[in-house]
């Protein structure tokens, strides 16, 4: 079957989609966006977290056909999404020139942003905070955590530690680097409230 939906603010079309296929599979294998990770395939680990119409969900548990006509934001589009939001624009990018093309999203890399000089690729504040706080170890859980943490900071700009733990309770880090992850989210929240 064919599925038309919006990915990172741009309309996309997936063809020959198997009816039992997950959104995660479509993103990774058909759109060439491997940022969302495939680990447990049962909603336990959160590494495939994306936003579906703004809401964080496990993309492995969404049937591809269910996203017909809906908006998905993946980690590859997170920087642009956060930028649009900060500029007070349409965060999904669906209403203007915003958003991230598939090509840009496929080439997107989380490197080059020097925390000392601030040079290089523009990162979402939460991404920069993860780098600065040393919250990335093997990196496998990072995309899901970024999407979940970014959504929490959008909803709740001044989270308590309990709020952060709850918001990230569906994301597992098997390097067990949770303390640094907490540091990163606190850092992003602090920078956000200072308007840095």
């Amino acid at each position: 079957m064919r599925v038309n939906f919006t990915v990172n603010g741009r309309p996309q079309e997936a063809d020959d989609v198997w009816e039992g296929e997950s959104l995660l599979y479509v993103l990774r294998e058909r759109m060439g966006l491997p940022g969302s990770k495939n680990a447990c395939e049962q909603g336990e680990c959160g590494s495939c977290t994306v936003r579906l119409d703004g809401v964080p969900v496990c993309s492995c548990l969404v049937a591809a056909g269910q996203v017909q006509g809906r908006e998905v934001v993946t980690v590859e589009g997170l920087a642009e999404y956060a930028k649009d939001r900060a500029e007070g624009g349409c965060a999904s990018g669906a209403c203007g020139t915003g958003g991230t093309t598939l090509d840009e999203a496929q080439r997107w890399q989380a490197k080059g942003a020097d925390s000392q000089t601030g040079e290089g690729v523009e990162l979402a504040p939460i991404q920069q905070a993860f780098i600065d706080a040393g919250a990335v170890q093997c990196g496998f859980c990072t995309p899901g955590l970024l999407v979940a943490a970014d959504e929490m900071l959008e909803r709740n700009p001044n989270p308590t530690d309990a709020d952060i733990r709850e918001a990230l309770s569906g994301n597992l880090c098997r390097c067990t680097g949770y303390e640094k992850i907490m540091d990163a989210v606190r850092l992003a929240a602090a920078r956000q409230s200072e308007g840095v």
Partner: protein, 296 residues
């Protein structure tokens, strides 16, 4: 496999009548796991995401009509006052990502004895609104669970909503697991005080082939509260009454040994949760009672 995408409730019912083996999918948090792991290859998937009615709820005079697909997150955010037991239960479901997708309709459709919503529904009192092209009926929650992962739905029926009695007194929910998130209940317990009818209702999860009420325990407690004039005098519940209530709740279990826990642990834990939730709800009832008397 075929992917059916009805745009309305009527279309969904027609599709289910035409293909009774079609598997409804809304949040997908159970169905997609089975498909991802190749445990299930349904001939038809019936996507309910486009049926807007299923995502709405109405607060009525005596009950809440909760659309089958209202996500747990919305229940926690919007219905804590009306449905405190279910809101607490919703908060114990998996993780934020899962609570954003899953709803009570899926819990009922799957009818797993471990479904988190069931003890809260049993304790509050509820009816399942099931519909097919043949018509609508309301199935009392006590008659809904018919076996392990079996329910009273006919093959052509879909769950449209659940009618849950609004709380007329304190409610509590307790669940045993290894951590606070992403846990399938080892066992769970729901308790609701109903001061209007001077009765108590319970719900037990994961400790019998189906979710069950501890009816003997309820009858014992109702009689003990009545006899001692507890509803009127607002006294602390006698420890011996709480103890016997807990024992009767344990006795209502018919658990198995499995990877999550042994049968004897489950029986024990249900007793502990019964005693604790009784204490919590009763203290809250007394507090509210004393506050209103103080004001008067």
């Amino acid at each position: 496999m075929d992917f059916l995408r009805p745009a309305s409730w009527e279309e969904a019912l027609a599709a289910k009548a035409e293909h009774p083996t079609a598997v409804p999918i809304a949040g997908g948090t159970d169905v997609m796991v089975e498909i991802n792991f190749d445990h299930r290859r349904p001939e038809y998937l019936l996507n309910l995401n486009r049926v807007g009615d299923l995502y709405e709820w109405e607060v009525g005079e005596d009950s809440v009509r909760l659309g089958a697909s209202v996500p747990y997150t919305k229940i926690m955010e919007n219905l804590r006052a009306e449905l405190p037991g279910l809101a607490l239960a919703s908060h114990t479901v998996a993780s934020p990502q899962i609570r954003n997708r899953g709803g009570v309709g899926g819990n009922l459709g799957t009818a797993s004895p471990a479904g988190d919503a069931h003890p809260a529904l049993l304790a509050a009192g509820a009816e399942v609104e099931a519909e097919s092209v043949r018509g609508t009926r309301r199935i009392p929650i006590d008659a809904f669970y018919t076996g392990v992962k079996r329910n009273a739905l006919a093959p052509d029926e879909l769950i449209r909503a659940v009618h849950i009695k609004k709380a007329d007194g304190p409610q509590q929910y307790s669940k045993v697991g290894t951590r606070n998130a992403m846990v399938i209940a080892v066992c769970a317990f729901g308790l609701a005080l109903h001061p209007e009818t001077r009765s108590v209702r319970t719900g037990i999860g994961s400790a019998a082939p189906t979710p069950v009420r501890a009816q003997a325990a309820e009858e014992f407690l109702n009689a003990a509260l009545e006899e001692g004039g507890f509803w009127d005098n607002g006294k602390i519940i006698t420890p011996s009454v709480a103890k016997q209530f807990a024992e009767l709740c344990s006795a209502a279990c018919n658990p198995i040994d499995d990877v999550r826990g042994t049968a004897s642990y489950r029986r024990h834990a249900v007793g502990v949760m019964a005693r604790r939730t009784l204490t919590w709800t009763w203290e809250s009832y007394r507090g509210a009672r004393n506050a209103s008397e103080g004001a008067a």
